[in-house]
Amino acid sequence: MIPTPHTMTYPHIAAGAHACFLGEFLVIMPPSGGVSCIFRNGSTLYGFIFHRPATQLDGYSTDNLMEYLNVYLFYITGLCALTLAAGAAQSQTADLTTTDPTQIATECGGDAGRGVALFEQNCAKCHDIAPSAQSKSGPNLHGVVGRSMGGVPDYPYSDALRAGAAAGTLWDQQNLHKYLMDPDGYLAGTTMEFDGFANPQDMFDILTYIRTASLPPAPERGSVTVPPELAAEQGDVAYGEYLSGECMACHNTNPQADGLPPIHGWDTTDFMVALLEYKLRARDNAPMQMVAQALGNTEIAALAAYFGALD
């Protein structure tokens, strides 16, 4: 079902523009031609999602165009839901503290494995991503997500990016999305030679890869301490009892038995540190890293409380 465009008045939409809602998107067709999209949640309008100038839409009939938008917006819905969940514009860098690859994939909405290949194809000619690599013709992208525009020291940025840097604009995920889908549309005057991704999923995959490749190295074993948020958690023993089932699939229920190390009766801090070290990859062992990465603070505290109370 394609809704009929009708005239609306919103302060930031040029007078005379046609606009319509397509699912959760407000689609605007300004008198100048082209098309823009805004995401709405109820009556609140969120930032501009993308813009296609009239020149890129030559040859589209209205019906075609709507169909194109439908497909396109379907992809973007996932991203918007993520942004909303994070609280609009609130978490600039908060989400960057995680080192959990699964969490990163969820936050970025992509697949790092696909992203590697896409990075090679689309970005690697001009950008390096190794931690201390020199910039190529484009700036090094290690850690670009969350840093300031124009953030690589000594790189000869365009005026457009310098202006962004001066204004304190961050390369948060939202800005990167807009930039990567339509570099010139988002940042007139950028010198990046890239037309933007046609498929948003490619862009999500690349960002997932960039975030993953930008992870800090694993901390040293022995250097991890329990962060105050975790220390403050009241471990729920009943929850711990349920979660312990996963542990007992391998660790023996009889603490004296041979096999994998017993985990009963540990000091709660030691228990938390052990799980955190697996989670942060300070300790090797793929199954334990996987198990620990699926545990949040509540779960770690619950397990520590449960096992700590057993002899």
Binding site: T102, E246, N254, G259
Partner: protein
């Protein structure tokens, strides 16, 4: 205050009145578990243990000894003896107060909520848990049915079948041929057939080095394929040949009398033939009317049958989504079901379902590999969240550590199942 686990377990006397009304209208709510394997034994133990006597648990299992399929390949390879993979139900009965009944379930009346046993007893239930494992699909390998299983063993239910297969391998003439007809997806233990080939090769390399192993496989690809093939090349170069569907591996029949395997029209005489047919949910699921196609569909949130909310199905018999059919998976699913059943019958707290699986395989002495994943429940299925797999070219120390870890896991999971 410190909770003492043993005290806790000791106090399972039925002193607590159940706050929830059950089928009979009085007494403790009743759970009947059919099948004392990886899923069923675990579920029975967790319900009894965590409900601390509030729920009456009956476990129905025909065998007095459960031989784990896991590590049964290691028995074939000579890394374990048979008694080390046999487990009894004594502790479940004595320490956890589970009523263990050695009999077959032969009928389920879903309206009356009761199970009939071969011996004639009728067991009423408030919740029924089915973990009967697999049965074979008739006719999936033309020429083979269960009457041929002595000539051509499947050894896909452990115990006498496994012993038989091992004895046949030992009786092979020098330079003879061991053939395996591998199963189509989905089947119990995705790496199982290929670990078995590795273990047979290990044995033959020592006892019958000119023998050959032929795998006839209907599948394009198989679990941990690159790792197995690398290992086969390294340890058993030239001994193992696999015929995939490109070369007729999907067009196979056998003749148990003549000991031949016919692959795409060409007849091969073999000395041992391990036929692993296509699989389906254990027959009792069909009898209960809770299957769709070959498997019993379940909700990942609780492991409840999608066709009857009073029945939970576990392990190999289920169609649940992304988890492989493994003992580890069945054990993991059992804990989710145990929590859901306790919640429904005694009002205990219920938490979001969470699952994991790791499958270790042994390729040769101290050359272990593993694959694993974590999962969560969505409305639609059990969905994979994250995973890992051993890499080709890993160093010997890591492979040895992986094998040792699997030995530790075996001790852990069997004590988690049987107490």
């Amino acid at each position: 205050m410190k909770l003492n686990r043993r005290l806790f377990l000791g106090a399972t006397a039925a002193t607590l009145a159940a706050p929830y009304v059950n089928a009979a209208g009085h007494g403790r709510p009743k759970v009947v578990v059919i099948g004392g394997g990886a899923g069923g034994a675990t579920a029975a133990r967790y319900i009894a243990k965590d409900s601390k006597g509030e729920i009456d648990v009956t476990l129905v299992e025909p065998s007095r000894s459960y031989y784990t399929c896991f590590f049964s390949n290691l028995y074939i390879g000579g890394f374990r003896d048979l008694s080390s993979i046999a487990h009894s139900y004594g502790t479940l009965a004595s320490q956890y107060g589970i009523n263990v009944v050695h009999d077959w379930a032969v009928g389920i009346d879903r309206d009356a909520k009761s199970v009939t046993l071969a011996g004639g007893a009728v067991l009423p239930y408030d919740r029924l848990i089915l973990s009967p494992g697999i049965d074979f699909v008739d006719g999936s390998v033309p020429g083979w049915d269960t009457s041929a299983q002595n000539a051509m063993p499947h050894a896909y239910k452990a115990g006498s079948q496994t012993e038989l297969l091992k004895a046949q391998i030992e009786a092979m003439p020098q330079g003879g041929v061991f053939a395996m007809v591998a199963p189509p997806n989905p089947y119990r233990c995705p790496p199982g057939p290929y670990e078995r080939v590795s273990m047979v090769a290990h044995k033959l390399k020592n006892e019958n080095p000119t023998a050959k192993i032929l795998i006839v496989d209907p599948k394009e690809k198989f679990s941990k394929q690159a790792l197995f093939e690398e290992g086969w090349q390294k340890h058993y170069g030239g001994m193992i040949e696999r015929i995939g569907p490109d070369f007729g591996g999907n067009n196979v029949s056998v003749d148990a009398g003549a000991m031949t395997v016919t692959i795409d029209g060409s007849v091969e005489k073999v000395d041992v033939c391990n036929v692993i047919p296509a699989m389906k949910a254990g027959r009792i699921c069909d009898m209960a009317g809770i299957t769709e196609g070959n498997w019993a569909p379940v909700s990942g949130h609780t492991m409840q049958s999608r066709l009857d909310e009073n029945i939970h199905v576990l392990g190999d018999a289920t169609n649940q989504g992304d988890m492989p059919k493994s003992g580890f998976s069945a054990n993991s699913q059992a804990k989710v079901a145990a929590m859901a059943v306790r919640g429904a019958l005694t009002g205990s707290k219920v938490f979001p379902a969470k699952f994991s699986n790791t499958c270790w395989s042994l390729i040769d002495t101290n050359d272990g590999i593993k694959v694993g994943a974590s999962y969560q429940a969505t409305d639609e299925k059990i969905a994979k969240v994250d995973g890992f797999v051993s890499q080709t070219g890993e160093d010997a120390d890591l492979r040895k550590a992986t094998y040792e870890e699997s030995v530790g896991w075996y001790a852990g999971i069997t004590s988690d199942m049987f107490g």
